[in-house]
Amino acid sequence: MKKILIIGATSAIARETARCFAAAGDALFLVARDPEKLTAVANDLKARGASRVESFEMDANDFDRHGLILHEAEEILEGLDIVLIAHGTLPDQKACEASFAETEKELRTNFLSVVALVTHLANDFEKKGAGTIAVITSVAGDRGRPSNYVYGAAKGATSIFLSGVRARLAKSNVAVVDVRPGFVDTPMTAAIKKNALFASPEAVGRGVYRAILKKKSVVYLPWFWRWVMAAVRFIPEFIFKKTSL
């Protein structure tokens, strides 16, 4: 039985990954903002076979409480094997362009809060010499595009941060998994017209689960995004700047 902490446990992808853990009979500690949604998710995971489900209300932007929550999870589950950080928002790019305050808010949610959590976790796991830290980032972090570069910057910065932490913790037997989904059919992308590139949260959630168990370093979900993004990164800047991707 594994012991898993999930931050942003009511997000569509995290929920599907949590279902995989539940089906395997693991113990889960769920953290999210909305108590009503948290209860619905916790009941679902219990019914699906999780050996234990605890939940805790927290806003990931409440940095001061991070230390407490990690301590609490570790104490209640009597240990911690895996932490999945899955919270996030899709910023309104136009609003961010118009206002730094808006941009700053989005960077706090999508970048700094992850840095705060991982800083705690890295030290903790480094001491123990074991554990897996998985974070859901995005293919949007692979290159800044005019349509959503604030989100892209937050996710890309997170990926760079994780790459450093991964190299630091490799000696301590701690895995750092950077999961980069492409378009996923979730409430976050409700306003975007669905096309063949969209994946279901079930498929992506299962992919996250497999990546965590295999302790992969960087995973694109679904797999084809690795090659799509390789191509996107390859486009020379003088051409790229004329696109409206």
């Binding site: 619905a40 219990k46 019914a47 409430p187 306003a191 975007i192 669905k194």
Partner: protein, 438 residues
């Protein structure tokens, strides 16, 4: 929030309609009914015709309401949000020794859809419909009221919602009773038969000792060369040496097939192959439950074989009648005469367990289901003639599979429809409902 979506269609892919989509993420989410002219719940879109479509209105798509609320593995009671699929539920309950009380021919339907169509399965002769196992559900009405309905509370809405085609409000969660099983396998026997009377004899004999019975027959074969396979089975534990489950083989039809591909010769060859393949299997063997209940689920998007124009499934129930004067024989004769038969067709005897559903389709007699490619007017004409035969026999046609029956036919098949109409929520409607209540 309204979702950006190209289109939602029904399984038969006819008719093509335009509608907006509202997709709640949580069962407790309020729904802004005042913003919509009319709404209709839409689960997995496995109804064949327009009972799951709302041309010019809004669909409330329930696929995200798929959480389980509780599973009592001692008593065998499951409570879940209405958008949960039977496939998902089976994956949770079967390993713990439970099964669906009633299972349709595909596992890719939602629980809400199962209740709203009061679905039946191969055990109808023993168990009746799905609605008989529903204990409670919550119904969200357009007034914003959330009503818990059961045989004891709001009993009239309970009865109207079971088989009520999603018209009485939005079911948010459903609680229903499961069935204890010894294991995930089915002991199945396959018996070839060569006439309609043989089917009735096999049914009368098999329905006593077997939980599940159904017959597949070649709808293209002439009465002299009638070819059918009678399946009967019971739950069992897996045999000691388990073969790898054949369900892993999954592929999907990648595009719309040209309709010329489906003609009397290709279909005839397919049916003959299917018959020969299965008639020569060992008479008795043990199979995992999925290939037994859901053989077509291995082929994703199989509805595309009928091409862009879509297809009709025609399912009726008629009284058994007497040998030599079987109403179902008259229906089959009419189909044979038209030369529009199709893939494998299904026959099954319904039992007499009454459903709590006011508008429930199953009733004692024999049910027949056949597919017809949409070949325009001549297909409509044939199905209209079949409706006439079913009406004369005092039977009914299944709304979940219908895209064209007339208002007069519906009202004669479902004489309690006016009583039902009183419970229809004023904001809820469907293409089907507008058509049959003209």
């Amino acid at each position: 929030m309204t979702e950006a979506f190209e289109s939602f269609e029904s399984w038969g892919r006819f008719p093509k309609v335009r509608q907006d989509v509202f997709r709640p993420g949580w069962a407790a989410d309020p729904i802004p009914f005042e913003k919509f002219s009319s709404v209709l719940p839409y689960g997995q879109g496995r109804s064949y015709g327009d009972s799951c479509l709302n041309d010019g209105g809004t669909l409330i798509v329930t696929d995200r309401l798929n959480r389980l609320a509780s599973f009592d593995a001692e008593a065998g009671v499951l409570r879940c949000e209405a958008g949960a699929t039977l496939e998902d539920i089976l994956g949770v309950i079967v390993p713990r020794g439970w099964f669906l009380p009633v299972s349709p021919g595909t596992q890719f339907v939602s629980v809400g859809g199962a209740v709203a169509n009061d679905i039946h399965g191969k055990n109808h002769h023993k168990a009746g419909t799905f609605g008989r196992f529903v204990r409670r559900f919550e119904l969200l009405r357009s007034s914003g009221e959330r009503l818990v309905c059961s045989p004891a509370e709001n009993a009239d809405l309970f009865g109207a919602t079971i088989g009520g085609l999603g018209l009485t409000g939005l079911m948010t969660w459903v609680e229903f009773a499961l069935k204890k099983i010894p294991g995930p396998h089915i002991d199945v026997e396959t018996l070839p038969f060569h006439s309609l009377e043989d089917f009735f004899r096999l049914s009368d004999a098999g329905d006593r000792d077997f939980e599940y019975t159904v017959a597949w027959f070649d709808g293209l074969s002439s009465p002299e060369k009638f070819r059918g396979l009678f399946y009967r089975g019971n739950h069992s534990a897996p045999p000691d040496r388990v073969k790898a489950p054949s369900m892993n083989l999954r592929f999907a039809v990648p595009f719309n097939c040209p309709s010329a591909l489906l003609n009397r010769w290709t279909l005839g060859a397919f049916n003959r192959l299917y018959y020969d393949w299965n008639a020569h299997k060992p008479a008795r063997h043990s199979v995992p439950y999925r290939p037994f209940f859901y053989p077509l689920d291995t082929v994703g998007r199989w509805n595309r074989v009928y091409g862009r124009r879509g297809f009709f499934q025609y399912q009726c129930v008629v009284p058994k009648g007497e040998p030599g004067r079987r109403p179902v024989a008259a229906v089959l004769q009419e189909v044979a005469k038209s030369g529009q038969g199709s893939f494998l067709s299904v026959l099954k005897l319904f039992g007499d367990r009454a459903s709590p559903g006011l508008l429930s389709f199953p009733r004692p007699g024999v049910t027949l289901a056949m597919d017809f490619a949409n070949r325009g007017q001549k297909t409509f004409d044939l199905l209209e003639r079949l409706d006439g035969l079913v009406r004369d026999a005092g039977g009914a046609v299944y709304p979940a599979k219908d895209a064209r029956m007339s208002a007069a036919s519906f009202q004669s098949f479902f004489p309690r429809w006016r009583e039902f109409a009183k419970f229809v929520d004023p904001k809820f409607s469907s293409g089907f409902w507008r058509r049959v209540t003209l």
